[in-house]
Amino acid sequence: MTDSADSLKALYQSIVLEHSRSPHNTGRLEEPSTSATGHNPLCGDKITVFVQADGDSLTALKFEATACAICTASASIMTETVDNRSRGAASETIRRTLDAFEHQRNLDDLPGDMAAFAEVCRYPSRVKCATLPWQTLHVALNENTTTTTTE
């Protein structure tokens, strides 16, 4: 019981709960350079990520989500982590994050506060909750590469 209770506390640790209760950077960007919507068909959750780019650098990120605490907190932390990076650096951060969850490795090296999500790997059905915002951002950055530079 204690082992399992500890794991649950690690999953819903205070940093995750703080971000899920009052997520940062929520809302829409009126004229985003790019955006994408991601769905989790398992639970019906949905997130839209909006990106503002200025040349090569990402100047603003916002998201709107109907999602669980894990997904909402992950999105909130993602917007803070990636904000103000170059496209290249952002893509590298996304790649590293998704790789860490997919292969369950280097979880201690997750960028920024994302390390708080290491425990989610013990919950196979919840990994997708943590990765959905990142996958959605990946799509936003890769599908509209032409439009993002035209602003």
């Binding site: 399992s4 794991s7 819903y12 639970c43």
Partner: protein, 418 residues
Amino acid sequence: MTASSESSLSPAVDPLNGHDVRRDFPVLDQQINGNRLAFLDSAASAQRPRPVLEAIAAYEERDHANVHRGVHTLSHRATEAYESARKKVRRFVNAASEREIVFTRGTTEAINLVAATLSQSWTSGDEIIVTELEHHANIVPWQMLADQHGFRLRVLPINNRGELLVEQLPDLINDRTRLLCLAHVSNALGTINPVTECVAMARARNVRTLIDGAQAVPHMPVDVRAVDCDFYAFSGHKMYGPTGIGVLYGRESLMQSLPPWQGGGDMILTVSFSGTTFNELPYRFEAGTPNIAGAIGLGAAIDYLESIGMANVATRESALLKYATDKLTELPGLRLIGTAANKTSVLSFTVEGTHPHDLGTILDHQGVAIRTGHHCAMPVMEHFNIAGTARASLGIYNTTDDIDQLYKGLTKALEMLR
């Protein structure tokens, strides 16, 4: 349940008094994360009692061979067991004849069988009525068909308690209406629909009827002749039987007129390159080697349910539903989704300030298994303007202990999340 370690409803409301159902289900006898397992996800798939597991094992260990084919002893035994399961199904739903009982992979396949065959006489512009509370299995096949052939789907809506607006049904029917597709019981809301009344309205206007009985058959006595529907579909795994087996009941006169569905062995009488003659009912709709062990397991599940009595099952579950409803609604911020006057033991809910997915994980930690999400009924979620619910669904083995454990688990989840 006197000598039982499980507390339960008082004997006065417990028609299963003395029969400790939970002990018949080996899977329930385990700890999850150090806690007693409270399995509250029977609407997704129910657990199997020992007699079902034993019937399958006995068949696999002693009697297996292909059915309807061999002259040898094992083939006789297998055929006998398979056909005896069909007899049990016929009796269980009170069909007129075993020719009306087709084994399928489940409810989904049964509905697809009807979609593929019945529609062959329809023409573009014909209409199909479904309801707002259907499972995707009773929506998507009709949508696909409609897209392909130019049929039109019409939807009978629900009110905010999750009850069908039956009075609107006559207005949805016109001279192009071919079929009414209707769940007997909603898996997401628990609503028991007035199927007999709806079928009568449809039949009066010459409209065929298909009832999705997946969530009804495990919880109440079902009589397809009293309902008077043309088709009735259900799944083994929701009624304490195995997965991969289900049933399509079809009115014989109508089934006789349907074209065959899948082609292959068993569904033919003679095959030559100048032509093939098809087998009689129900074999015409059972192409290929069937799920023999599954049918036998389903037959054993029916024996088990009949030993308890479906009327007893219904009475007991409705007492437990009342207990659970009273208890859960004590929780501040909890909103029940699905409050029909007439419902089975399904409690779908949301809790203010929390997401069902998080509730599900925290409950699992306390040994409580519930389902979260849209329950394959996204139009229902849309009606209530929510992404999903947490759903506790009860079965014959549940007790007040399970409900108390759920309540305690929810209290703890709320402490953590809010």
